[in-house]
């Protein structure tokens, strides 16, 4: 690499390019002829569908809004913070909050070793590897509403899962109600979501230099030592980021729980997205639903904060901007 850099520097000092300011000083972002009007369509949409509803949501959360007052919601009775107080004291909110945190964290923790292993296992070429790689992507690629509907079929009381279990001499279970349902949600989410960690780990492995392998081989490092001290440091960044994004996805995942259990979801598997949905569109208590939706922002606040800190926003201000 150092050879390349020197050659470049030499070229820049060549007589033909002499007096000009070096390319390094030129910025890729310019301040002239800014066509800022091009931002307006996007800004309008985000304003109309995200910003306005967000503000409206805060207002609705303070209204006594239900199916009777929805038609003239502007004149619905204003109740201040009552909805929030009631949400905390006399609904399943705290329980659902705990479920959401538990579900998301456990699902992420289980997917990490699977995803990292899969990345390591497909890094070295072998015959049929591209087929394996394509297969690994399928669970992630399937829409959650499809994943939900076929797992639901498999987990029916008379379904294939119980049939296999009894065939092996194990007791059949009630998977879609009761305490087991929480673990079923985790299991299905893990089945569908691990390839994301795999992809991120794969992108981390791609940044491992060839020389590193050779150095490890010369030192006679065993496979585990090499992984632990040589390869894993490369994966730490991408996998940590993957964990944040995956946790956010788990927390916001409504479709899977909705398809597996319907609304209102069984108590044991009531997560925040399904609670907000059933409060708004099954119980038709819109004000309470909006209040709960706002409270659910607390859920994603922590991972989102770290995610925003971790992402490098701007790499375009240096010379060339080429990779």
């Amino acid at each position: 690499m150092s050879i390349t850099v020197k050659k470049d520097a030499a070229l820049r000092r060549a007589p033909g390019l002499g007096g000009q300011p070096s390319a390094k000083r030129r910025r890729t972002v310019s301040e002239q002829n800014r066509p800022l009007w091009m931002l307006t369509p996007g800004a309008l949409l985000i304003g109309l569908i995200i910003i306005v509803p967000l503000i409206l949501g805060i207002y609705i959360a303070m209204l006594q809004l239900d199916q009777y007052t929805i038609r003239k919601w502007i004149s619905a009775p204003f109740v201040g913070l009552n909805n929030f107080i009631e949400a905390f004291t006399s609904t399943d909110l705290v329980h659902a909050f705990g479920n959401s945190v538990g579900f998301s964290v456990i699902a992420t923790l289980i997917t990490v070793p699977i995803g990292v292993y899969a990345a390591l296992a497909t890094q070295n070429a072998y015959r049929g590897r591209s087929l394996v790689r394509s297969l690994f992507l399928v669970p992630y690629v399937l829409p959650s509403f499809v994943v939900g509907s076929f797992w639901r079929t498999m987990l029916q009381h008379d379904g294939i899962v119980n049939k296999v279990l009894t065939g092996l001499g194990l007791p059949a279970g009630q998977w879609l109600t009761g305490p087991a349902s929480f673990w079923v949600l985790i299991l299905v989410e893990v089945w569908a979501a691990w390839p994301f960690i795999y992809l991120m780990a794969l992108s981390g492995l791609q940044s491992v230099d060839q020389e590193v392998h050779e150095a490890a081989a010369i030192d006679g490092a065993l496979w585990w030592t090499k992984l632990r001290y040589v390869i894993f440091p490369y994966l730490r960044g991408p996998v940590a980021l993957a964990c944040l994004i995956a946790t956010l996805h788990h927390m916001n995942n409504f479709s899977l729980a909705f398809l597996l259990f319907g609304v209102p979801a069984p108590f044991d598997v009531q997560v925040l997205p399904t609670l907000v949905y059933s409060m708004s569109f099954t119980s038709l208590r819109f004000g309470m639903g909006a209040a709960m939706a706002l409270i659910s922002l607390l859920l994603i606040a922590l991972p989102l904060y770290f995610y925003l800190k971790a992402v490098r926003l701007d790499t375009g201000t240096d010379a060339g901007g080429k990779k």
Binding site: V29, S30, L36, M38, K72, L137, L142, F150, W191, A290
Partner: protein, 317 residues
């Protein structure tokens, strides 16, 4: 994207040195000997784990395929293999549930979202990457933040907003394609823009400067220079925007009426009602699931090379 200077460097290294000391592509050619150097996992762990993982993924997939060719009764009894393979389910589903209508609605809505959000994404990204202005970094940060906003937070206010457009302004939005289109478009936009931001950063600025010197306007640069160069990025943002619309159940279940239902809602309603009947139509449900999944899986397989990068977009940079 790759560094075009690399081959020069490699050639400088004498080829006589031991395999372990060779660098870059030269080492890759030496085959078995060096394969051991780059191996990450011992063979038993590699083979065993890969088989377990493949089985974990493939068995449920095979289950859907086999069940879709089985009778409803046998699937309900927990059969894996059909005693008699039949394609009846694939002809019955079009009558038992409004699948065709749902598919057309989904293709129309998601397709329109894909096209429009890619277009808006590249325009917005162009301004964000190439021009300096107050609030630029906040917008970039906002693009990431907006991708994480839970849909459930916005569902109700958007519903109320759209309902009000009907009640107060006389514009019907709920139950039409427009409501869903606008909602998906807005949720797709931050991602599309972010994908195009990361893509445009990699494009050299020289071509644009040349066009500017020739008197091109910003729009001219955008459509004659940037656009033709960015189709790989456009594919990624288009496909993922399409999938956002295709995969959503939450907004579609609230903002549609029976004639505008997307296929996701059709399947969800069928799933929850099919079990209520005396004879659950599981075989047909699996066939319908496969029909819904097929376009998505095919899209991925066609564009796999581009999309893998897109799936980690926002994470890698």
């Amino acid at each position: 994207m790759s560094n075009n200077q690399a081959p020069d460097v490699v050639l400088d290294v004498p080829l006589e040195t031991s395999p372990a000391l060779r660098t870059g592509s030269a080492a890759r050619k030496t085959g078995r000997q060096t394969a051991a150097v780059y191996r990450l996992l011992p063979a038993p762990l590699l083979v065993g784990g890969t088989i377990v993982l493949c089985a974990m993924v493939a068995i449920p997939l095979l289950y859907i395929v086999f069940s879709s060719m089985n009778s409803d009764v046998e699937v309900a009894r927990g059969a894996f293999f059909p005693t008699e393979f039949t394609l009846d389910n694939y002809s019955k589903i079009w009558r038992t549930l409004p699948l065709g209508n749902g598919l057309i609605n989904s293709v129309m809505i998601a397709g329109a979202v894909a096209v429009v959000s890619s277009l808006l994404g590249i325009i917005t990204a162009y301004v964000l990457v190439r021009f300096e202005f107050v609030g630029r970094l906040s917008i970039l940060r906002g693009l990431i933040g907006l991708q994480s906003v839970p849909g459930g937070l916005l569902l109700l206010p958007v519903f109320v907003l759209f309902a009000s457009a009907g009640n107060y302004l006389g514009i019907t939005v709920i139950g039409t394609y427009w409501g869903l289109f606008l909602a998906y478009l807005t949720f797709a936009l931050p991602f599309s823009t972010w994908v195009m931001v990361t893509y445009l950063r990699g494009l050299p600025k020289e071509l644009e400067e040349a066009a500017r010197i020739d008197g091109s306007s910003s729009l001219g640069v955008l459509f004659r220079i940037i656009f033709p160069l960015s189709w790989p990025g456009l594919v990624v943002s288009g496909v993922f925007s399409f999938l956002l619309g295709w995969n959503d159940v939450m907004f579609a279940s609230v903002l549609t009426r029976p004639n505008t239902q997307t296929v996701a809602v059709v399947l969800q309603i069928f799933g929850s009602s099919a079990e209520g009947g005396a004879l659950p139509l599981y075989g047909q449900m699996m066939a319908a699931s496969l029909v819904c999944a097929a376009p998505v899986v095919i899209l991925y397989l066609i564009f796999q090379r581009f999309l893998v990068g897109g799936m980690t977009a926002g994470g890698v940079k």
